[in-house]
């Protein structure tokens, strides 16, 4: 015997094009919703990971000094400002400081890079403190240098790939004509470290004649200590700027929130349009089948039976659209990632759209709710049909 599900399914098949278009509308809304929820989750995860991968919560640089290799390159290797190495001793005294690592970035012009030359950047790091702070870095080949004055280098994966270097190979610091030996190649991290060439701090200071200078100091704060309290103390130091990673995160999140409001508004509109589409489709279907509904009622079907049938049709449409939309969102996550990256003022590394089963289930829940709500009116209207009037109206 045919059951109510089969009747509802067959009813939808009677107007295939209309049902398909309604499903497409719901699928699009579900796609937008899953993608946006995935973005909301993925962006914060990526940003947190990028900041955690820095290894330190506070970066102290000389006033006006670009603290990122990318910024340094954009400025053509210029704009470096220095602070004296004794700042490290001053900062170390603060009780909030857990670990501290001094750094010296240097850039040299290489006339043989590209048609009109280019810059190569080197980051001098202290082998006693830097690897400990960046303990999550893994090696594809080799290991960290241990001698602070050794003519040795550790290369980020992309830097090594560009220079085609492996452990044991020599590497030339152009302009200075200094040869160093590659002792380690890092695995990819998806961060700025991939493109960095790390050298021992004292060797960089000596090679570039900056024996008492630093461009950055990374600080890891004790877990129980107050970061803002330490920041306040650091602001008192002369001629330094304090870059707090929590501030960076907050600033980025504020920048991104505008874009987020915009895309969530689009999602809301998409959902409203799909609700109207569903109500319209089911209502039209009810109007066209008044005579049929009248006959069903005259044969003994109750108002609740009719209500259930129409409601079920709405649910089938919504669940089908939800399933298609969720799969589409999974399949186009990379594309969505690319599009969102173009829209945002800053995008961290790694996947920006992270879709997991709970997000998909949440979207199903929302879609089913939409289905239940948008099906109420047409189902109620169908349930209230008077059999004789309905049969007569269509005959006339």
């Amino acid at each position: 015997m045919i059951n109510i599900f089969q009747v509802a399914y067959k009813n939808l098949l009677r107007k295939k094009a209309r049902s398909a278009l309604t499903i497409v509308g719901i699928a699009l809304a579900a796609w937008v919703l899953v993608s946006l929820l995935g973005f909301n989750r993925g962006y914060e995860m990526s940003l947190n990971r990028d900041i955690d991968n820095l290894g330190f919560q506070i970066l102290v640089t000389a006033k006006g000094c670009p603290y990122e290799a990318a910024t340094l390159m954009l400025k053509g290797g210029t704009g470096l400002r220095y602070m004296k190495a004794d700042v490290v001793a001053q900062i170390s005294k603060e009780p909030e400081v857990d670990e501290i690592t001094p750094m010296l970035m240097q850039a040299v012009f290489d006339p043989n890079k590209g048609e009109s030359g280019g810059y190569s950047a080197y980051l001098g790091v202290d082998p006693a403190t830097f690897p400990k702070m960046k303990s999550f870095l893994e090696f594809k080949q080799g290991k960290w240098f241990t001698d602070p004055e050794a003519l040795e280098a550790v290369m980020g994966y992309e830097a090594a790939e560009l220079e085609q270097r492996e452990v044991g190979d020599p590497l030339l610091i152009t302009e200075k004509n200094v040869e160093v030996k590659v002792v380690g190649i890092l695995k990819r991290t998806g961060t700025q470290d991939d493109g960095t060439i790390f050298l021992p701090l004292k060797m960089v200071q000596k090679t570039f004649d900056k024996t008492d200078d630093l461009t950055g100091i990374g600080i890891k704060v004790k877990k129980e200590a107050s970061i803002s309290k330490l920041e306040d103390k650091l602001y008192q130091l002369p001629d330094v700027q304090v870059v707090s990673m929590s501030q960076v995160k907050q600033t980025i999140m504020t920048l991104v929130s505008t874009a987020k409001v915009m895309v969530f508004s689009i999602a809301l509109i998409a959902i409203l349009i799909s609700v109207v589409g569903v109500v319209n489709t089911i209502l039209m279907s009810v109007m066209e089948r008044l005579q049929e509904i009248g006959i069903l009622k005259s044969m003994g079907a109750t108002a609740w039976d009719i209500f259930k049938l129409i409601w079920l049709e709405t649910l089938i449409l919504c669940i089908s659209g939800g399933v298609i939309g969720a799969f589409f969102a999974l399949g186009t996550a990379r594309l969505t990632d690319v599009l969102i990256r173009r829209l945002l003022p800053y995008a961290p590394s790694g996947g920006l759209v992270q879709i997991n089963p709970s997000l998909v289930l949440l979207t199903f829940g929302i879609v089913i709710l939409i289905g239940l709500l948008s099906g109420v009116y047409p189902s109620w209207k169908a349930g209230r049909v008077r059999p004789l009037e309905a049969i007569r109206s269509q005959v006339e």
Partner: protein, 229 residues
């Protein structure tokens, strides 16, 4: 099988295909690094004066022919692909250059391990695979100035893969090829980078022959005792 069952199978296959097309690209992939022109608009116009446009194609040995093709390329090169970065999945960028609607040549670059860093050797070729311009896009060397001087690159102009088939990339022996013997290393101390430049040129020409010239120069390799075809 009845027609209903066949239809169902067809629909299932289409659904699977859609699923694969949609879901597989979402997987994270991090392949090897390729070798692109830094500024294609500027560089193509400079390497092919009079050209009006270009088309960019991406090819990899992996996708074009897999391990069998790699073995053939290594055989033609006379050396194995080496190290962390000379791998089967390197995406090569091949620029087809046009003057109006007419194709006038190709530009192709390869990465090569040099003595102190990576080399990027680009060749501008005519439609027969003859070198029109030799260009080091990147070169880390103590003797970069001499090697990037136009007098060095000009020595390659007019050569094709035919001239390289006897060149031994391991030893640097020209095998008595008169055209290759004319190519002089400007600085004796730069020998490793000089050899790397020649290996990169031979590799570059072999890849272009395999990717786009339908192995036009393979008979020369076979005549020289190449084992595979």
């Amino acid at each position: 099988m009845n027609s209903g069952g066949a239809d169902m199978h067809k629909k299932t296959r289409i659904l699977w295909l859609l699923f694969l097309l949609l879901v597989l690209p979402a997987r994270e992939s991090r392949g090897a690094v390729g070798c692109d022109l830094n500024d294609p608009d500027r560089d193509v116009a400079r390497l092919f004066p009079g050209s009006t446009g270009f088309k960019t194609n991406y090819v990899s040995i992996d996708k074009k022919g897999g391990p069998a093709l790699l073995a053939q390329i290594e055989d033609r090169l006379g050396d194995q692909f080496q190290g962390l970065y000379e791998t089967i999945d390197v995406p090569y960028t091949l620029y087809e250059v046009f003057k109006g609607k007419e194709k006038i040549g190709y530009i192709h670059g390869v990465n090569e391990k040099g003595q102190y860093g990576g080399l990027q050797v680009f060749l501008a070729l005519d439609l027969n695979g003859v070198i029109k311009t030799f260009y080091f896009q990147k070169l880390t060397s103590k003797y970069g100035r001499e090697l990037r001087d136009s007098t060095f690159g000009d020595q390659f102009v007019g050569l094709s893969l035919k001239d390289f088939y006897r060149y031994d990339v391991k030893t640097g022996s020209t095998g008595g090829d008169a055209a290759l013997e004319k190519i002089k290393n400007p600085v004796p101390e730069a020998e490793p980078d000089f050899k790397a430049a020649l290996r990169a040129t031979k590799k570059n020409l072999i890849l272009v022959d395999e990717f786009i010239l339908d192995n036009k120069y393979l008979p020369y390799h076979q005549a020289a005792g190449g084992t595979k075809s």
